[in-house]
Symmetry: none
DNA sequence: TGGCTATGCGACAAATTGTCTCAGGTATAA
DNA sequence: TTATACCTGAGACAATTTGTCGCATAGCCA
């Protein structure tokens, strides 16, 4: 569903939110409007593209897991439309593999849900280097390691679950279930 | 310690390995020499820079956690010396935040240890989008990966099972049982 | 000796996997 | 169009693996 903002021609910077979770879009939309953005929401890649082609947004927030297709392709297309667009990729299924891919495709930043509006704002502002990232003292938990590894093989194989399961010598049903679960925090 | 390769002027592509773990450097060095690279190793950022300034490497493998400083600054500097250098960042303490930063600084890829030489090779080759050519020989099965990882953390902690279990966020009883089982092949 | 921690292992419940099975989807070749 | 060959999500149920407790033993240190 396309929901053009009522303040399209405003002086406020335009920001496109793309997420299939409508509730999430609404909440985020309100929070960012209050912070001075002119918000537009889209719930599918096609809608997002239509909107962006009409008027390329200055900022964009894209969810990685959009129904069928990956939000990654949208990042690439938005970038092609306007290399100046600042894009933050958001996802509840964060992994190093997709983060690497997102940044290489031109995303400005990559954040794991849950996030709040302030973190997103900070992500838009940030430039390389000025962040002093603590090198985590602790190694990944085995569960997390497994998640990262699976994600890596999965992206290397075009997100083909069957192939990945075979490569990993793991039952497809099991892979399905692991992927359905959110990655454990930490 | 600076260890210039004996085949500096060879026809082989030059590859600089920067990791403070000497054993790891040696092992990796041998594996990559066999694959046709002219390897040089450095264990500190300063050494790495000295070497790179003398002759910028075509490829580089940089560990994130180098003694005091972060390997991230090295990525940036190597890139400044020669934007064409392909850099893979490696780390036993992977996190999404550092992965994002590494890629933004110009790293070609970011991998969590344990990795094998083939995976690193694949990372060098890969470019955005065209990703999936690697009929990677045989990535480790998740079970095998877990075993390798557990062994590493275990030795890093003096073979203390209780401590390792806590770090890995895994029940001690479970770790006991996993260790009791022999490592599954493949 | 008491306090603290590590270790091995038995037992049972809780959770995760392996298997099998269906019911679509999506290509491609005949 | 039909056939063939994949891929995918999901239900159901048994087989395994984990999480949890508990307990006895052992080393260390004040």
């Amino acid at each position: 569903m396309i929901e053009p903002s009522l303040t399209d021609n405003s002086e406020y910077p335009s920001l496109l939110i793309v997420d299939d979770d409508e509730v999430f879009c609404d909440v985020l939309s309100k929070a960012l409007t209050k912070r001075g953005f002119s918000i537009t929401c889209a719930h599918t890649i096609d809608d997002a593209l239509s909107l962006a082609e009409m008027s390329t947004p200055e900022y964009a927030i894209v969810d990685l897991k959009l129904s069928s297709e990956s939000g990654l392709v949208l990042v690439e297309k938005l970038r092609n439309l306007d290399p100046g667009t600042r894009i933050v990729m958001l996802t509840g299924y964060a992994s190093i593999a997709t983060a690497v891919e997102a940044i290489k495709l031109g995303a400005t930043h990559y954040l794991a849900k849950p996030v709040d509006a302030d973190e997103i704002m900070a992500a838009f502002e940030r430039t390389v280097g000025e962040a002093n990232i603590p090198i985590s003292a602790h190694p990944l938990s085995v569960g997390r390691l497994e998640w990262e590894y699976i994600q890596r093989i999965l992206t290397e194989n075009d997100n083909n679950i069957s192939v990945t399961a075979r490569i990993l010598n793991m039952h497809r049903r099991t892979l399905q279930r692991k992927l359905a679960k959110r990655p454990l925090r930490e």
